[in-house]
Symmetry: C2
Subunit: 155 residues, 2 copies
DNA sequence: CTTGTGTGGTTGCATCATAAAACCAAATGG
DNA sequence: CCATTTGGTTTTATGATGCAACCACACAAG
């Protein structure tokens, strides 16, 4: 089989997240969902993608627990696609991608929008990584350790 | 043409970043590079991917200014692939992906490693988004504004 | 100089995923 | 009821992926 390699069993959390949202469209669908988009046709209009792959992606996102289908919410008998807490938890990923573009894009003048603090209308600061005690950490200040064995179940 | 849709001209910074690193392998290559991997064969061994697509991905990453080829560095006459500043700038994206897995993965016990503060050996805190004045921001505290027109060129 | 071996790729298929468009059924809407 | 919109599925063509085979070069031994 030449099957597209799956990262499902991989022990790396980055690979595991890519398994769920590492394709071309998923993060854009999530972006729209965070903006309040819920309906199939609305996703299709905003993203301009083919309906068959939108259908496949939505199903995949539901399977991964990122979206869930709700029966109605406004009058019509159609169903909607809503973000789960896991889905809303992708927000920092989207912010990180956005800030990376804002900082390094070759043509930043083509970027249409900036993320701002709603209260003051000023751009948000770059995402910060901190230690438990609050110290600001750079990449070099971090390292990887093997995950400690779970204590909940001994054998 | 059925060409795989390109986000190159898109005004959304998230789409633009996905254009560069939104495929299955690029972020994993960058992850290895952040770990110090430099050589073709080393990437191939660690990631277990086909050599032709590794070749294509490395070229794409070089074209996007994320990697650069350095002539040698150790004795051998082969070239190496090094991260540029733009490449190292993806670190928060990888951290965000990792933390998302750590928080929401269905089988967290399968995750092998955790990211820790090198000094204390304790897990790093979740990425924080802050306003210019330092206030901690939730997603709901933010909004998008149109990018102000560049002042450098009036017309 | 010749042979051998490892590195760093490219080239050929076979297969999978994606995309566009056609199609279709149920739900509205007049 | 008939027409249109919504929310998809099916069909078909093409691009991307994956494996294996091949190849060029460097380097070392004989």
């Amino acid at each position: 089989m030449v099957k597209r390699t799956s990262f499902e069993g991989d022990a790396c959390p980055i690979a595991r997240s890519l398994e769920a949202i590492g394709d071309w469209w998923s993060l854009l669908i999530i972006r729209e969902a965070l903006f309040g988009v819920r309906r199939f046709g609305e996703f299709q209009n905003k993203l301009g993608m083919a309906k068959n792959i939108l259908s496949a992606r939505l199903r995949s996102l539901v399977d991964h627990g990122i979206l869930e289908t709700a029966p109605a919410s406004d009058g019509s008998a159609y169903s909607e696609y809503l973000l789960t807490p896991k889905g809303r938890g992708t927000f920092p990923i989207l912010v990180a991608l956005r800030q990376w573009s804002e900082e390094f894009d070759e043509h930043p003048e083509e970027i249409a929008t900036i993320l701002v603090d709603r209260e003051k209308g000023r751009p948000v600061k770059k995402l910060e990584m901190r230690a438990e005690d609050g110290r600001l950490l750079s990449p070099a200040d971090t390292t990887l350790k093997p995950r400690p064995a779970s204590r909940r179940r001994s054998a």
